[in-house]
Symmetry: C2
Subunit: 443 residues, 2 copies
Amino acid sequence: MQRIYIENLQKHVGKEAIIAGWVDVRRDHGKLIFIDLRDRTGKVQCVIVPSALKAYEAGKDLRSEWVVQMTGVVQERPGNMRNDKEPNGTIELAVSEIEVLSRAAEMPFELGTELNLDTYLDHLPLTLRTPRARDIFTLQATLVEEYRTVLRNQGFTEFQAPGIVGGDAEGGAAVFKVEYLKDKAAYLATSPQFYKQIMVGIFERVFTIAKVFRAEEHATSRHLNEYSTLDFEMGFVRDHHDVMETLEKALRHLVKAVSEKHSDILIRFGMEIPLLPQNIPVMKLREAQEIITKETGEDCVNEPDLEPAHERFLCEYARKNLNSDFLFVTHYPVSKRPFYTYEDETDPGFTKSFDLLFRGVEIVTGGQRIHDYNTLVEKIKAKNLNPEKFSFYLEAFKYGMPPHGGCAIGLERLTQKFLGLENVKEAALFPRDMNRIDTLLSQ
Amino acid sequence: MQRIYIENLQKHVGKEAIIAGWVDVRRDHGKLIFIDLRDRTGKVQCVIVPSALKAYEAGKDLRSEWVVQMTGVVQERPGNMRNDKEPNGTIELAVSEIEVLSRAAEMPFELGTELNLDTYLDHLPLTLRTPRARDIFTLQATLVEEYRTVLRNQGFTEFQAPGIVGGDAEGGAAVFKVEYLKDKAAYLATSPQFYKQIMVGIFERVFTIAKVFRAEEHATSRHLNEYSTLDFEMGFVRDHHDVMETLEKALRHLVKAVSEKHSDILIRFGMEIPLLPQNIPVMKLREAQEIITKETGEDCVNEPDLEPAHERFLCEYARKNLNSDFLFVTHYPVSKRPFYTYEDETDPGFTKSFDLLFRGVEIVTGGQRIHDYNTLVEKIKAKNLNPEKFSFYLEAFKYGMPPHGGCAIGLERLTQKFLGLENVKEAALFPRDMNRIDTLLSQ
């Protein structure tokens, strides 16, 4: 007989079945032993009665997280034990046989308990088994899958970007140094930026899901030292608006997919489907700053960038006044953007770039890129960087590149904001930060 | 008017159209200028006649890899110019207007020329634009996509494995050291092994596509210092055979997808659809060694592993005698496998592990893993490793893990062998090796 997934047990009422999984909860009522058994599809109550001699003996030992296989007959629960609101709330398994596949040590805490973040992170191999963590990473897997689908359907080709690079790609972000072979230094990619631009020369439209690494000593609820980026880049654009349109289409698809597949998860997290109007509102950085200054009295008009508090304020503003949980902010100054950012001819000093804010935080950065070789070399020099160090990248431009642009979505932040998680670390399976790589670094 | 992709031009015969792309080839016949324009969907011949004054002036300058937008009327080619065998071989664009989007420097070589590997790698931003390279990475994108599809359809959940790790995961492979924050050392992942095993505790069935890094000073046609691994891991298995069955199903799906979507690519590479019989043949390492010894006279019976030449021989043997391009070799000795490998109770000293050979090279390694905490701790000690260094990983086992197993497919080798590429570096977009990270390290 084959193992049956717990979500399918309803179809086996009155029949014998084998199920397997983890002991979620054990309850004893008089002489009866009740076990809630959990597999990847759900939970079901199992009843072990003293007359099932061997099973009962085995059942006495069972504790939380033991892995067992149980054989028994699926039966309707007695009337007073029925719970119509729960999956499998009306059935139970009358156990005849128990095979212990794996024992578990005594739990350091109940799995359902609310834990502080440090304790949660200290015990991830165990705490990831909670329904809350399973929900988070189920939804994240959907985001990744649907992101690929929506781009592939628009003619984008997926590629694998390298993790080890020869230098600091953006000439800005703090990079991790790697001891490469033959005593040479290498670095970890801070972005697949250069490679996706090169790939525009091959496939015109490309996307990648890549791990990137930032050697920044942040201790905020928004930063990770390793994260996943959903990048795309597209050729033959008019300007950054084509990129924003493609991004908007992708987000619309993601919101739809999440609301269709995971409305149950949203409900469990107390979250609504994000407000995404016909067109995501767009404002220039300077307009946004004027709104902030006018509404809050805090003058930020000539700042080159938005503070986290400003991003939160703008999102509240957009939700209240523009009926949107998303907001595009464009035209960051040349000084604040990487050298490859396209300057707006009609608005000198400012770039055809954008950030997308979502529920208080920047989740996407993008824009049009410079495609002309000579301009690019000039801009590299203007940032006091050495064009020779970019010779590989520059070769793409030397031999003809179309106008192009793209963007990068932070997967963990996107997940965080869909679910209203307090800390982005909850949206990374095994977060790397200043103090921790799985275990604490100070240990 | 909107840009039209070149593959769709056939539908616009007799009408005006705008196309955009790269100048693939330029030919002059008397006063006529012929341009083959290439976009991501195909090529088409464009004719520029002297009477189209401005276009003709612009056309005179055009050289290979210039990026242009051309407006013109799609027309049938004259009878003697028609080529029914080529896509768009019967039509051409009579150009009325040319907009140069980007110039290109003079080419260092014709893009069609056969190049040696070093020159190819020296100029990847350009050489990846060849039809050959585009074919390779189009097929690779399909492999990745279809791998995910076939696993997802069997209830596997995708997850993102970390790239930075705290230690050497397998206690064997050479690792790259990273200067982490606060003067701490970290390493680059050599495999997502530990994380996918931990994830079995959460989702039972998981897969990931991860970049992994090996600090080995290899100079072979089979090794890369950074590569992509298609990993999966599944719980509640009987033994390694369940893993092999799932892998076989995945491969069957990949072979089918490639033969359906990319038969044109296989033809261009002179490759046949891989031979994949009803059941992939399986032999124990010792049986394989007996065959090698018997057939070649070279005694390798007590060796702990197969030499590359042996793998090639076995694949030829399997193709000739077993009608298969794939061959499972199982039961490698405990001494040659990582500590977490499950020892076969019925064959002491040997493991429930396997390699899958494909066209002369090992492309997959897998097997059943130890799920019992105490056994695992013992095996770590037996390899002279310190269990305390594995405390994070071990926590999964401390709290109950089902029997499980999985495997890792090397994406670049799989691509290489599908297309019969001589060197695996051709199957990595931006290969990292002893001498090169984009540019040569000695520079």
